[in-house]
Point group: C2
Chain length 158, copies 2
């Protein structure tokens, strides 16, 4: 797996000195299994209609929380982008002159590197959800699963 925490900043990018203490803590409630073993292999954006099946493994403690999830076709997945540096406030993702604020980007580099993906639920298996629409690296830590009511998918070429 690619370790990027030490990646140097690009031209025009700006980082801050991070605060010391955290204000809240997260438990990883599971792990996401995908076909992409390195960050550079991941697609730019997940495809809930035509993307490959991925497996969301739920930790044993939390599996009672899956009861009734099969009633939902669309799920929102929150996960922790564990390979991302957290101190970049201005970024230059396209490597051109100038930079953009982190909060105006969906870049994985952010103070709290939490990603949100909308996926389609394909099947509920033993302690696992089979879904389509993810784009993260294999073994990414899972933070939350919620039903998604507002999503819609268009089955048209991109």
């Amino acid at each position: 797996m690619t370790e990027t925490l030490e990646d140097p900043l690009r031209p025009y990018e700006e980082a801050v000195a991070l605060p010391g203490a955290f204000q809240a803590g997260l438990w990883f409630i599971g792990r996401i299994r995908t076909p992409w073993l390195r960050r550079e292999d991941c697609p730019k954006r997940g495809d809930p209609l035509h993307g490959p099946d991925c497996l969301i493994e739920i930790g044993e403690l939390w599996t009672p929380g899956l009861h009734g999830i099969d009633a939902h076709q669309n799920l929102q997945i929150l996960y922790w982008m564990h390979l991302s540096r957290r101190d970049a406030v201005r970024q230059n993702p396209h490597n051109i002159a100038g930079s953009t604020g982190t909060f105006a980007l969906r870049s994985p580099l952010r103070p709290n590197p939490i990603a949100s993906s909308l996926v389609r639920l394909i099947a509920v298996e033993a302690g696992c959800l089979r879904v389509r629409g993810l784009d993260c690296v294999d073994a990414t830590p899972l933070i939350d699963v919620k039903p998604e009511f507002g999503a819609f998918w268009c089955d048209t070429p991109r």
Copy 2:
């Protein structure tokens, strides 16, 4: 503000013994100001079209991250539901016979109580975002702001 961490479980609800150590930490990057001072006053769901203006105050360290955000009309806001107990895996939100798994609900009670809201950006002010569509209690801690590309709003009665 209502403190609910000690709220008793309802009939049919189930809690687990929480793990000890956290696996990741969060910084609160700001604070959300809303008209609702108690949880019981909050609307069930935010309304990005007709809801009241709310203010997202960004901590001074992070304000360079706002550069360019005015290019986006729709934003995704992640915040920390600091009043929610974290150990409920089966819940009975409607107080009827039976329960539903936490991951099949958007209830604030979840292992990692992170909420995700889609809002409309009304204005960028000094270190603040004026938005519509939130439904959280005043002074809720902010975790992240991202541009939202998939959202659409229907201006029809609910």
